[in-house]
Amino acid sequence: MSERLAVRKTYKLYMGGAFPRSESGRSYVVTDAKGRFVANASHASRKDVRDAVGAARKAFGGWSGRTPYNRGQILYRVAEMLEGRRVQFVDELRTAGLSKGAATAEVDAAVDRWVWYAGWADKLAAVAGSANPVAGPFFNFSTPEPTGVVGVVAPDSPLLGLVSTVAPAIVSGNTAVVVASEPAPLPAITLAEVLATSDLPGGVVNILTGHRDELAPWLATHMDVNALDLAGVPADAVADLEEKAAGNLKRVVRPGDSDWGAEPGTARMTAFLETKTVWHPVGV
């Protein structure tokens, strides 16, 4: 009896809660660590970037307007769904070249990382906000607010690096357009399937696969993108993207220490926050 023929998956983009192919009709070959064909990934275009930013902008009002408790619940639900797909993620990371032990450790770390960020949703305002003791009869307080649409150029740590850049961007209410790791995009699309089935509103996270050096400049120049995380950008491309980002004064996180296993701290969350200060007179 012949062996069962596997049903292969067609990897697509994730945009506005749906899974379209690239409007360009292009794809590129993803190989495993030994160079063998694994899949054709969608090769997103400039138009896809624009559509994804449009979807992210559309989702911003609703997502940022939810209560932090609700965002925390939804993010925790994402972690639950991630946990349920551990085996699939381990397989994909092994395909990308990690040993079984390393892949398992990375998936566990990614799930735990997501849980950690989920818990921040309803604590950020208490930690990053303040009541300000001004020298006058005024009630004065500062609260953090999301900055808007964040463009994330994800690092080549295909799952842990990915969640470590996406979760801090959205936990405060931002929406994100993510350019996945170019050599290892498959965990990103699987993450998209997790997000699509975990109550996260469509458009909050949009994931594009393709060529980083082709897509990142359009994110950097887009006037409706408010911030950029350049985590996955090679050193020689940073200056150009930062210059482009200056066009509408995007908040930029430069590529830094790429030890994604280390304790992340709050810097990635606060980088995409604005502080709003409200004054009101006290008295009659």
């Binding site: 930690v127 303040s130 300000n132 003791p133 001004v134 020298a135 006058g136 005024f138 004065n140 500062s142 900055t147 408010n226 940073v238 200056a239 150009d240 993207l241 930062e242 210059e243 980002a245 200056a246 066009g247 509408n248 004064l249 908040r251 701290g265 810097a267 606060t270 604005e274 502080t275 709003k276 200060t277 409200v278 004054w279 009101h280 007179p281």
Partner: protein
């Protein structure tokens, strides 16, 4: 019977203006390599003093002096000692308050009432506030051992010359950084008196350096390789240029840029209070305020009544001699700025808005612009979109709160906003939806060192003031 105001001029002599000023580098006043320039009194166009101009070599020496001071003295110094220096500076500012206020009004053109009651007291308050942080940085929420960044390059505008200096220098020094600051070329004098205050405080040489000059000097400073941090307050256009300059470097950047604030007046607002706030919002400091309430959004049902009261109030504004203690609106800072205000106001008329100014006799010499209000303004008009940076108010109307918010947010800027209503839930609802860094409700243009200030969107990034203001000067 009408009582006329008698002139109540403050004496200019307390300003002790000298014929020429050097820049302040490494604890010494030194001449500059560039062509010296003149600072002019905008109220009568007389030359006040000649000021040294820093060339690239001067900027280099200043950055090196700051680096040496950072490495050898200021960086290693315990926070408690840094705090005492900052307290000293705060006290010296208070001791020389009248001199500073008068000099600021002469050099800038702002009314003495404002420099005396707003600018200088806030300068002292900023140094007091950040002095107290210097030995408490571990408690500021940035980890237990936050580190200074190093040498900060700071470029400030001409609208609040001394106050912007305080906003930049106080937190930088409190965090352990050393600074090279460039004041605007039209208003360098109070910064140079501040340099003298640093000497009186016996601040170690090189901790504060003041280089003087115009755009070229600023560019050289921002681009200097020895700088670890750049902080800029000024126009959005220059802010973008600076962001491009520091792109790809290790330099950290904070920007406080332009604004086009909406001042929203709902139909249930206390109208006389709202009128006071609208006037304060746009005519304070001749409208030379990045957070000025330059777009009045008034609910349609009360627009006529509010405008009548606004015009009546504007007619009582006294425009003239900045040193007269009765003056409400002083001189425009420079001929170039006056020209820009005139050009934009002319575009308002050309595009179809209706212009009104109270009867008001302007002095024959100097740079003056009467308080002006435009009605019938559409969102597409330049006067509703571009920052004018002058005493020009554009009035638009709205019908529903949603429309007010949509119009208020319809700008690339996001620095400040005002809300006038007696209903608390409406204040909070509106404040939540405004994309602006500072929201004044039933008040306007209030500032305090304990209160974070800064913009959303193209009004820049980073905050000055409060605990948040420390982050710009710490490695976090």
């Amino acid at each position: 019977m009408v009582f006329e105001y008698a002139p109540a001029p403050e004496s200019a002599s307390v300003a002790r203006i000298r014929e020429s000023y050097g820049q302040f580098v490494g604890g010494e006043f030194v001449r500059g390599g560039g062509e010296p320039f003149k600072s002019v009194n905008p109220a009568d166009e007389t030359v006040l003093a000649e000021v040294a101009c820093a060339d690239d070599g001067d900027v280099d020496r200043a950055v090196k002096a700051a680096r040496t001071a950072f490495d050898k003295v200021w960086g290693p110094m315990p926070g408690a000692e840094r705090a005492k220096y900052l307290y000293r500076i705060a006290r010296l500012v208070q001791e020389r308050a009248r001199e500073l206020a008068v000099l600021e009004s002469i050099d800038n053109g702002k009314p003495i009432r404002e420099s005396r009651d707003v600018d200088v007291p806030l300068v002292a308050a900023h140094f007091f506030y950040y002095a107290g942080w210097a030995d408490k940085l571990g408690h500021a929420g940035f980890g237990t051992d936050p580190r200074p960044l190093g040498v900060a390059a700071q470029v400030i505008p001409w609208n609040f010359p001394l106050l912007m200096l305080a906003w930049k220098i106080a937190p930088a020094l409190a965090c352990g950084n050393t600074v090279v600051l460039k004041p605007a070329e039209t208003t360098p004098l109070t910064a140079l008196v501040f340099a003298d205050i640093c000497r009186q405080a016996e601040l170690p040489a090189g901790v504060v350096n003041i280089v003087t000059g115009a755009g070229e000097t600023g560019r050289a400073l921002v681009a200097h390789e020895g700088v670890d941090k750049v902080a800029f307050t000024g126009s959005t256009e220059v802010g973008k240029e600076i962001a491009r300059t520091v792109a790809g470097t290790r330099k950290r950047l904070t920007l406080e840029l332009g604004g086009k604030a909406a001042n929203i007046v709902y139909d249930d607002a206390a109208l006389d209070q709202a009128v006071e706030g609208v006037v304060d919002g746009i005519f304070f400091n001749q409208g030379h305020v990045c957070c000025a309430g330059s777009r009045l959004l008034v609910q349609e049902s009360i627009a006529d009544e509010l405008l009548a009261r606004l015009k009546a109030r504007m007619a009582t504004l006294r425009v003239g001699d900045p040193l007269d203690k009765n003056t409400d609106v002083g001189a425009v800072n420079s001929a170039a700025q006056l020209e820009r205000i005139r050009e934009l106001a002319a575009s308002g008329e050309a595009e179809g808005a209706t212009r009104w100014s109270p009867p008001c006799e302007l002095p024959g010499r100097g740079f003056w612009f009467a308080p002006t209000v435009f009605t019938g303004v559409a969102q597409s008009h330049r006067i509703a979109r571009e920052e004018i940076f002058g005493p020009v108010l554009s009035v638009l109307t709205f019908r529903t709160p949603d429309e007010a918010v949509a119009k208020a947010n319809n700008t690339p800027y996001g620095l400040s906003a005002g809300i006038w209503t007696e209903k608390g839930s409406r204040i909070l609802w509106t404040a939540q939806r405004l994309r602006a860094g500072v929201v004044w409700a039933n008040t306007f243009n209030k500032f305090d060192p304990a209160s974070p200030f800064g913009g959303y969107k193209e009004s820049g990034f980073g905050r000055e003031g409060g605990r948040h203001g420390l982050e710009a000067y710490l490695d976090v």
